[in-house]
């Protein structure tokens, strides 16, 4: 039995933001795989909950005629991992989704919850950082769209204002069309584990042997998921070789602010960033139609 003092259910976004405006102390719940675990563990002692589970309009993955991919915040990880739009256009996110939790958790947990929980290890975040995703946030007054990089503020802290909910995750065609991508999660177990490190890369090529540009998103390499701008700058229009990939990976470490935890030391995480970045790049280059690298 969870200590739930009040429980509200919204069936539309409008109703949800109205309820949240009227009851500012409510905690939003969707899949429940983070909120209920925190309640069980005593991190949240008691709560009034606002459930979004019946807001059907937030359950869809769509690709508009101009290529904009929109992912409703209630989309589950199982949906993400199996959806043809995600698999065909942004495979790094499909791979990341399949790496999260286990099947029963993926059946419940939502992408919106994963992001709003705000942890550095959020499995969906590195891919969405690399894809320059935008988030649609809505409150009673209206909505705004912000880059995902501005959403994560610190461990467990996100840019949701009082009364605001995350409704959609948007990926623009110019950020995935012609790109190859890959995600690698490093964890002690293959399932039901939190990432020790997560690396998502996407790259676009000028020709088989030359990068146009590369974008690298990392999880658990700092207090928030992050991008490796210096390495991305270095990679721009470089000839692709084993050396270039390793150099990009080496520079990627400079953008990290890893810390030591019981899961791994700072030094080990930095080693993982370097090793996994070039491994992920190698696969992403192949997927973008580039040369094979030993």
């Amino acid at each position: 039995m969870y200590n739930i003092e009040k429980y509200y259910e919204a069936s539309t976004v409008r109703e949800a933001v109205q309820l949240l405006a009227d009851n500012p102390d409510l905690l939003v719940i969707a899949g429940g795989t983070d909120v209920l675990i925190k309640m069980h563990g005593g991190k949240i002692e008691k709560a009034g909950l606002l459930s979004l589970r019946k807001v059907k309009s937030l359950e869809a993955i769509e690709k508009s005629p101009d290529g904009l991919i929109s992912i409703g915040s209630l989309v589950t990880f199982t949906q993400l991992a199996n959806d043809p739009v995600i698999k065909d256009n942004i495979p790094a996110l499909a791979e990341a989704s399949l790496s999260m939790g286990g099947p029963q958790i993926r059946n419940m947990a939502t992408i919106g919850g994963n992001l709003c929980n705000g942890v550095p290890s959020a499995d969906s975040a590195p891919a969405l950082f690399a894809l320059d995703a935008q988030l649609r946030l809505q409150d009673k007054e209206g909505e705004r769209v912000i880059p995902i990089q501005e959403f994560f503020l610190g461990p467990g802290k996100v840019a949701l204002k009082q009364g605001e909910i995350l409704t959609e995750i948007l990926v623009s065609p110019e950020n995935y069309n012609g790109y190859g991508g890959h995600y690698i999660k490093f964890s002690m177990r293959k399932a039901m584990d939190i990432a020790t490190l997560g690396v998502a890369v996407v790259c676009k090529l000028k020709d088989k042997g030359t990068f146009d540009n590369v974008r690298i998103g990392l999880g658990v390499a700092g207090p928030t998921p992050l991008r490796c701008r210096e390495a991305e700058e270095y990679a721009r229009e470089k000839a692709i070789s084993s050396q270039t990939l390793k150099e990009i990976a080496r520079i990627a470490v400079k953008s990290t602010k890893a810390r030591s935890s019981w899961r791994a030391s700072k030094e080990y995480r930095e080693h993982l960033v370097e090793e996994l970045t070039w491994r992920a790049l190698k696969i992403a280059v192949g997927r973008a139609g580039g040369v094979e690298i030993d």
Partner: protein, 153 residues
């Protein structure tokens, strides 16, 4: 504060008043006495409490009872038909995939959902589908074999 919910358990209609803090696990196990639903970790890690909700394997320990309103729930008690074990259950028996039995209802229900999906699974995919269940007795080889057997035509 209670809420009235109506749902089906193993084809039987149920209506009852639940508190918002009650889990589906608690309602099934302690109020409706479906004791085949096991309480293990209570935080969605071990899979012992897995039931099928509209056919989808779900950890009932982190699923609020109010969410079950209008759903069809299947527990291990609803798997055998007219006293005859299902194909999945028979495979578990034949492969010796059971020791203490605490994890078994969850494994059988996930395997049942896999069989009913009509999909083909590689051995790696079977392992992935079962990865939300912990068994502390046998190791997993016999369980994987039993699921492979259930999936054969």
């Amino acid at each position: 504060m209670t809420k009235k919910i109506a749902f089906e358990v193993n084809g039987k209609k149920v209506e009852l008043e639940v508190q918002p803090g009650e889990t589906l696990l608690e309602v099934l196990r302690y109020r409706l006495h479906y004791t085949g639903v096991k309480k293990g970790c209570a935080v969605g890690e071990c899979g012992a409490c897995t039931v099928l909700i509209d056919g989808t394997p779900t950890n009932s320990c982190i699923y609020l009872a109010v969410w079950a309103d209008g759903k069809e729930i299947r527990t291990i008690e609803g798997v055998a038909k007219d006293g005859e074990l299902s194909k999945v259950q028979k495979s578990f028996v034949e492969e010796g995939a059971i020791q203490c039995g605490f994890c078994t209802p969850g494994f059988v229900l996930t395997a049942t959902a896999m069989v009913e999906s009509g999909k083909k699974y590689s051995r790696e995919e079977i392992k992935r589908e079962l990865s939300g269940h912990l068994c502390r007795c046998t190791g997993y080889q016999k369980i994987i074999k039993a699921v492979e057997k259930s999936l054969q035509d």
